[in-house]
Every structure is written in C-alpha cells, then in structure tokens.
Symmetry: D2
Subunit: 343 residues, 4 copies
C-alpha cells in the first residue's frame, strides 16, 4: 500500500486526489494547500484524509511514501527536492521545473536515492496518443514528415510562466512519446498583450536531423477552443482532434508520389494519392487513471516510468530554449546535449 | 469598350476569361496559351475570340487595351513589362513577380506611361474579407492584437515557387487590406520533403511596431483542407472560415480584462469576458466579378486600384524576405524601406 | 432544512444525490437501492448517509421530508404514491408514470395532502431551453411554425419502455415549457428490431389548433449521437444543438415573405429573407442544481413547481397516445381532455 | 449520333444542356423555353443550337432523336407523351409525373414504340449512392434495419407541388436503388404555412414486409441546409452527408448484440458493439455526366435504364399515396399493386 500526499488542491489537484482515491494499491492520505477554503473542500469530500497548510509539513510526514506536486511551476524544484530528500517517490506536474538545471537536480536526487520520479505528462496516457505512437512505430504512416499542432482557447493567463510553458508543454510531451527522434534546434516567436505579462501567443518550430519539422501554435487569447494536430507521414497522415467526442484519431490514406523524370515544365513532378479514411475505435479509459496505475507499478517494482525525468527534462529544455528564441524574434537556438549521464 | 487579352489558359485563366466575358464595358477579345489543347478548349467555349500561341504576339496585338497575365510567376515580369511597353493596362496574377526589384520595375513602367497596374489579389474582393476590413476600420474589434491563418491542403506542388509564394500570398494580400499597419520584420521556417523541390510546408511570423503579431501556416501536404483565420482584437475577435458555405465570418464578443492591482499571487491578473457570437449576413457576389468591375472603373478613370502595384510589392517583399529567413531557420529579417518614391 | 431520501442509485440517482448534497437548505440523508454494490458505492462516497435495501423502508423513514424516485418507470406510481401517503414531498424521474391514470393518481394524492410534486424534467432548467422560451415569449421569433427534434444515439435499450418513453420524453418536456399551446393530436410510427423488445426507433408528429406542427425522431440504434432541434418562427428561426460545447443556441434572421399577387406562374409566390445569425451567450450552470434550488423553494413556500404534475401528465399523455398510434402505423389519435379539475 | 432537344431552360435545364453538350455520341441540338430571355441566354452560350418558344415545336422537330423534359411536374405527362408519340426517346425530370396513372401512360407509350424512357433520378448516379448500394448488396451492413433521411433548407417553394414532391423525391429514388425491397405502406404528416400553398414541411414513414422502416423529413422553411442520411444495418451502419466535401460516406462498425437469456431485470438484454469508422474514397465524377453516358448507351442498345419508368412510377406512387396520408394526419395508406403488367 502506497501512502500518497498531494501538494496543491487548486485546479488540477482535485483530479489527482480523486484518481489516487480510486486506485488500487494506494491510500490517499494527505492534502496540502495554503488556502483554508481549499483544505476545507478537500476535507468535506474526503473526511478521512489529513490536511496540511505548508508543503514543509506534508513532504516530511513520515507516514507518506509518495508526494504528488500540483503547485505553480516555480515551486516544483524546491518542493520536489525536499520530498525526494525526505525519501518520498515523486510525481510532479508538467512542466517538470523552471529550467534544465532544476530538472537535472531532481533527476540526480531521485537516482541517488533510488526513488521513482514521474512527470505528469497526462496526454501520453490517453488512448488517442497511444494510438498515434502505435501507428508511428508500426510503420504504417511511413517516414514522419511533420507534426503540427494548434492548442488555443480563451484563458487562463498564468502568473509565473508564458503560454508555451502552459500549453505547448502538452504537445512537447506528446511529441517526445510519439516521434522517433528528438529535435535539434528551435525557433520561436510570440508576444504579450498584457503589460508586464508573459507571452500569451506563441509559435514554436522545431528542426530535426532529417527534413522532419514540428510546429506548435498556442494562444491564451483565442475566441474558440482548438485542440488539433496533424501528423504527416510519407504513406499516411493523421488528424488528431482532441475535442471530438468519439473519432479523435482519423488516418488518411493520402499523400504524394514523386515523378523523378517529368518530361516538361507543365508535367507534374509530384502526383497526389487519395484513398480511404479510417477512424480506429479508441478505449474510453481516463488517462489519469491509467497513469496512476503505471505509477503504482513503477513504485512497486522500482521501474523507470514512461514519463520519467528524462522526458520531463527534454520538454523543459525545449521550453527554455524556445523562450530564449522567442525573446529574439525567432533567432534559432540549438538544442544541445540531448543525452546526459546521470550523476 | 476595353478590349482584353488573357495570357495563360491553364488553372486560373478560364476564370478570368469567363468573368471578362460577362463584364460590362469589356470585350473578351484574345487568349494566349502555348499548348494547342488549351487554345482549342478556349476556342470551343468562345468561338468569337482570337487565340495566340506566344505571349509576344498577344501583348503586341494593337486591338487590345488590357492584358491579363495568368502564367507562372517567373514569367510575370517579362510578359507584364512587354505589355506595359506596348501601352496596355495590366492585370497580373499574384504574386506580382519574383522579387521586389521586378515589382518596382513594373510599377515604374506603369507610372511612366500612366497605365493602370492591378494585381489579382482576389480575396480582397470577397464579401468576407471586405467585412473584416469594415470591422477593423469601424473600431468594433478594438486594437488588433493578432492575425493568425491556416491554409493547408493536399497539393498542388508548384514548379517555380515554394508554398508560401503559392498559399501565404493570399493571407498577405488580405492582411495588407485589413490591417491598419504593415509589418516591420519577418521570421519564417519551412522544409521541403521532395528532393530538389521547393519548401512544401511553411510558417511565417510577422512583427509590427506594436505588440501586434501575425502568423501564417501553409502546407501542400496536409490530409485535409483548412482555410481558417483568427483575427484577435482587444474588444472582439473574428473567426473567418472560408470553407463554411454560409457563416464565413463569426464575431465573438470575447476577450480579457486586465486587473492592474491583484491582491495576491492567486488572484487573477487577467479576467475573461464571454459574450454573444454574431455572424453577419454576407453578400454572395463572386469576388472576381467585383474585382473586374473595379478594374474597368480604374481603367476608365485612370484610378489607382485597391490592389495596385504597391500592395503587390508589399506582398512580394514579405515573400522574398520570408523565404530568406526560412533558409536560415527562422533568423529574423527586417522588412526595410516600406515606402518608396515612384520614379 | 429538508431531509432528502433518494430511491434508486443506478444511472441517474448519483447525479441527484450529488446535487442534493451540495444544495443549501437540504440534508442528503438516505439512499435506497436493492443492489448491495450500489449501496456500498453510495456509502463509500457519502459516509454519513443512511442506506436502505427496500423502497418500503425509505419512504416511511420518519426523518425524511422529501423522496426522490429514480427507479424504472413502471415503479414510479407505487413508490411515489407510498411516499406521498407517508407525507413526503415527491420528486419523480421522467416520465412521471406509465399512463395518464397513474399520473392523475399521484397528482390527486399530492393535492389532497398539500405536498409538492415535481417531475424531473431536467432540460427545462438548462440555460439553452430557458433561452428558447425567452425568445418565444418575447415574440422575437414571430409565430411559431414548427418544432423539429432529432435525439438519436447507440443504446441504452430499456427494459420496461420503448424509445419514445426514454428519449422523446425530453423533447415533450421542452415543448411543454417552450411552446405557447399544447398539441391536440398525435401520429406516431416506429418499430422494434429486437424480438420481443420495445420499439427502438420512433417518429412522433404532433398537431395543433393552428398550422403549427411538431416532430420528434428518436432512435436507440444510431451510429452517431445527435441532439439537434429546429424551432421555426415566422420572423426568426432557432437551431439548438445540445452537443455544441459553447454555442448551443443559434438564432437565424431568416424566413419567407409571401407575395400575395404574383403576376404569373413563374413569378415567386414566396420570397426568401436571409439575415444575420446570432448565438447568445449562455450561462454554464448545471441544470440539476438549478432545478433542486427551485424544488427547495417550492417546498419551503408550498409553491407549484414549473415542472409539476400537470407538465408530467401532459408528457405522459402524449407518450401513451403516441404509443397507441405507433402500434397502428401512424393512425392519428386525438389528445383529448387536456385540462382537468384537480380532485 | 443522338440529336437532343431540351424542353425548359430554367433552373435545371442548363445543367442538362451543358452535360449533353460535353457528352460523346450526342449532338446538343435544340432548346425550348417560353421565356425570351432564357432562350437568349441559351443562344449566347451555345450559338449553334436551335431554340423554340413552344414545346409543341421542339417535340415534333424531325431532326431530334431524344427529348429531355425539364419543366414543371404538372406538364411532364403531356409533353412527354407528345414526344414519345413523335417517336423520340424521353428523359424526364423527377418526379416523373403527377400521379400513378400518368406514369403508366408514359410507360405504356414507350413500351409500345420500343423507345427508351428514363427518369432523371440524378442521385442514383452519384458515387456516394452507388457506394451505399454496393455496401447493401455486398452484405457488409447485414440486414437493413432502417433508412432515415433529413433534407431541409430555406426555399424554393414550388408552385405546383408540395415539399415531398420536391425534396423527398430524391430520397425515394435513392431508396429504390439502394434497398432490397419496396415499401408496402406509408404514413405521412405535414403542413403548409402559406395560405393556399402546398405543404412546406413533410414527414414520411414507410413500412416494409419486415421490421425495416424508412423515414424522410423534408422542409422548405429550415434556417440551415441539411442533407443527411442514416442507413442502419444489423452489422454496420452508414452516415451519408451529401454536404461533406470529401468524406460523404462513413461506415460505422457499430451495433447491438442481443442477449437472449438475461438473468435478471437489471442485466442487459441488449449489448452494444463499437468498432472502427471507415470513409471509403469516392470518385469525383459529376452524376449527370455518368447518367447521360448511361442514357446514350441505353438508346444505342435499346436497353432499359437503371432509372427507367418502373423506378419513376414507384417514386410517384409513394408521393401520391403519401400526400393522401398527409391530408389525413398520418392515416396509413397501403402501397397496393407494386408489380404491374406492361400493356
């Protein structure tokens, strides 16, 4: 039985608590929030749990085995490190931390103490994203030409991070799970429309060692909500619309055929191929439930999670370097040192 | 009565010929195409017209007053210049020419000879785009924060230009008509997936003197067709979906309100405002017909067209500088010298 | 403080319990379900509540003031009557009972004892339906020409009722709230595709004293989910799509104009008017919460609920007579005696 | 070479003329319209054709082999009969005529003279409808449970027929082509909202010898255009949306499984099966072109067309009997005498 404490009972924390409460092999034991009314709400819903006002108390509660951190990003490193130092396994919200250095600090601490460190890249555990990975790995899409995503809506402006840290983080986590290689450079643009605020519109392009390209458009100030991804391959192409209630994934048997020897200028160099469309049936499991079952199994067997520190670091690296590019109007930035030795 | 000759009877030429044939004040007199089967098709449809095999013949036909050039972009300058030198008014397909210098050459020649020079920025004459301009100028959107457009589909790969010259040209023409100022710098990214081919995916960001930003995503290799634009203002926001049969323009009374003095970190700096949506009824006139009526009026009164050489040049400038940025992975390029003296 | 007991903790019961638990002026006191695992689930979620295995126990629990009945329709009358006879106020699931006679029995009992009797016509309390009523009553739609609704999906086949009792009941409840008069006759068709089962496809037409018409299409065996209603008026028309996440209600300024004196056969008798579309912003309140606040207010002040026995009876009358018509392949059936004296 | 004359150059006639003009084996020879401006338009577009003011002239022009009748329905019988009597093959617009008797008159005349009689059931020649027929005949849908169609829009109110004659005719033609048997009875409802006008809203249910059911909803007074059909089978189900630009046909691997021996009332009698969705790639051929090629082949080989008099008669029978039911508020009417001996 893994005893779990959750730090932060704001927007996402209640989902963590609810899923931990229903999971097997887990006792949802404690919740921490600085705000009395949030603690009261947790207590009303879960009369048996312990509540704490400060994170220092919960991370050192000796009855707990695992701490889940669902607080503003700027606090992830400090709270996460304290939890690990207190010998707790750690589930940390995405993005993992504020920069590469903090991520590496958490990874080193977890490695040294042989503790499980998982980043809550929830989308990786959805049936739709798992299906995309299966299609890519199985080869039915052919060579992957591009990943293009739009993730826009009205709100919520964050205090401590810009819009790519808030929204593009989802796509970066998905890309890291679905694509066969990691990008080597990033060019990003974006602006803020609130004086003194962080960028609320952002565009990220990522380059690879091949002709593959990836692009993410995020916006906190859009009149409509869009969650739409194109994944283009040399054989087939996928449209992933997360707002569709049932057919989230559509696979199009469409593409081009290159004619290497056209006779003249007017003849087609490139032909078009248009075939059937197919929407695979997807399970309806809740991603967070799947994720927590995986976490429990990792803790019980001291396994590396699918979305461990390495994935969390990769995502933060692109966010950090992308923000740097964004401040220089798209100046490209190399994504150096993708592989590292764990200390 | 304006006697019109059309050069190029391929994809777009037949639309020009059909609209000239139905326009008042115009005699659709001659068509030129190097391919015998295209000339035969034009003759079958319009038994009364004259056909030519070479552009040299049509541009010097003394019976013609106006030449419309609907050929590959790389030939616009040579054919257009010859037509102007032969004293003909000129309608030239978009993009106007292959670079800024060529555009300026055409503009200078037209100015010197007091001839009308119009660029076929067709979208500018659609009811939807005219409504957007009206909304922007009327002030009901407030300050314009961003223009974001997606224009993707499968095909047609062009021989002499890349995808931003083929597709982003539409958005640049729209922006030049709708937005109150012109961009000052561009950062673009893109790749080619066909060996030796031009870029078939492109992303352009444009910067302005304010915090406004514009972005265009174009793609010849998308499984589905998308023609969707977001226009965000401080008061209201527009979604323009050109594939909608009736409600192409939707105006959302949504946005943010900035709270300058939040009491604490958890309090909202930025509030959200969500009101009604409104889709104005649009005329159903064909854009090309409207455009040709405007052209006739300009020729008759020696007026500058709405989409004259200046608009054509501005669009080409961004395409030329954007392609330069694209070859350097997003390196930003300043859009120098936006105003010029006509020679 | 109103002490509430809920009978039936299956599909809908948990929603009732959750909303009663969060409502002011209410103590969610007891739940009854014949199945041990459902009682266990209720106890886990609400450790403080009392659970009962038989409805006879809960309806006679002297600590309770109000009984909510969320059981199969065939049991509504017996349980509801027992609750009323025990002096409890009554909230009963839709459809209110199996036939007109049963409905009248419950109404008479409630009237005799001065108890509140409410039918859970949930849709009546949604922002979208309330907006439709407001538009109709305010006169902006003009004369109401028709109500047309499609409510289809895959499943759930019911045991004791056919598809119109299961799905058309929603539309009948909405119509009773939104339309200014009640229908005077019904013609219905439908079939069963399961041997020995109830009709799983049904079509209901309702006639009125005017040229108004209403039609409802319901289907348990459709490949896709549709929840779409057209409400046509002489001045404006509404499309209500309950599956839209935000713009559920769209008001179209469209219609016809009749030309009383056309000159000849080819001239139009009827002209078309096409204006703007407008989607009013709707609140996002949960209907059941609104409904329960209304119920509490009715109990506290001994008021008639909006969706009282009269509305419940009207809906059941159409379902009963419609099923009779359905068994005779559309033979029309008069909806006699719409007004009755309460005994 | 078949010499063709077209009677009626109004809404649909120009499509017939254009397709005849482009077809092989055909000379588009003559057009008749009572209105001078329609004749002038035809002459401008096709300088080589002969025009006539009265149908009496064109049907007796000895140079013509085939007459296509595209006039109001009430005139089909008189003009068609005259054309047949003059020894011309006949293509007649849908619906074929005003009643069963007229249809039989035309069929008898054509049979007696060994002339081809074709009804312009255009939808039968679309790739989407041909795919549906292929799916039904191939057995992949299983037993066909229902056909359900919605065909609504704003306008055009017809002078001589009601809305089912104008719009449901398309679905009846499709059903006759796609379904394995013909209906045996009809129940219909509908009303008119224009004083003295024909019904502008209509609902038709058709019954079969099995538990199959068909339903068609048509409306001239809808705020939006809908062209959507559900075709439910025991194995798979089809959604056919004619307004979709590319995926018009979607095949859903969904349905129910019947549990013959449920243990108790709460156990499911009926289970649900949800599998993949598949949208077959469809050709993009224009239906009318396909239809005219078929007509030419039938004339050249004296073959019965797919959409011959028999199909035309069946459709008119349902329209005639359906209108009778509609005037009696859904009273069911048997579709007697479906097979007849040709005189």
């Amino acid at each position: 039985m893994i005893n779990v404490g959750v730090v932060g009972y704001g927007y996402w924390g209640p989902n963590l608590v609810r899923n931990f409460a229903e999971a097997n092999g887990v006792r949802m034991a404690a919740v921490c929030d600085a705000r009395a009314e949030r603690r009261a709400l947790a207590e009303k819903r879960y009369p048996a749990i312990q509540t704490y006002q400060t994170w220092q108390e919960i991370v050192t509660d000796p009855s707990l085995d695992l701490i889940a951190v669902s607080t503003p990003v700027s606090t992830h490193y400090e709270i996460g490190l304290a939890a690990l130092r207190a010998g707790k396994h750690l589930l940390v919200e995405k993005p993992m931390a504020m920069n590469v250095e903090e991520c590496e600090g958490l990874m080193d601490e977890a490695a040294k103490r042989n503790l499980v460190l998982m980043v809550d890249h929830t989308f990786v555990y959805t049936p739709a994203v798992r299906k995309m990975r299966e299609l890519v790995l199985g080869g039915s899409l052919g060579e992957i030409y591009y990943y293009d995503s739009v993730r826009v809506n009205l709100g919520l402006f964050q205090h401590d991070i810009n819009v790519i840290w808030d929204l593009a983080v989802h796509d970066l986590a998905i890309m890291d799970f679905v694509l066969p290689e990691r990008p080597i450079a990033v060019s990003a643009t974006g602006v803020s429309h609130v004086r003194g605020g962080h960028e609320n519109i952002g565009y990220l392009t990522m380059f690879f060692n091949t002709s593959r390209i990836a692009h993410i458009h995020v916006n906190w100030l859009a009149p409509v909500k869009v969650r739409s991804t194109l994944l283009g391959g040399s054989k087939k192409m996928v449209v992933y619309n997360d707002l569709e209630p049932s057919e989230k994934i559509k696979v199009y048997d469409r593409g081009i055929t290159v004619n290497p020897n056209p006779d003249n200028l007017y003849q087609m160099l490139v032909g078009y191929r248009s075939g059937d469309m197919w929407a695979p049936n997807l399970e309806t499991s809740e991603a967070l439930g799947v994720e927590i079952r995986h976490l429990v199994e990792c803790v019980e067997n001291r396994k590396q999670p699918i979305t461990g520190g390495d994935a969390g670091l990769e995502v933060v690296r692109i966010l950090e370097y992308g923000t740097r590019s964004m401040r220089q109007r798209g100046e490209p930035v190399a994504l150096a040192a993708q592989q590292r030795e764990v200390a």
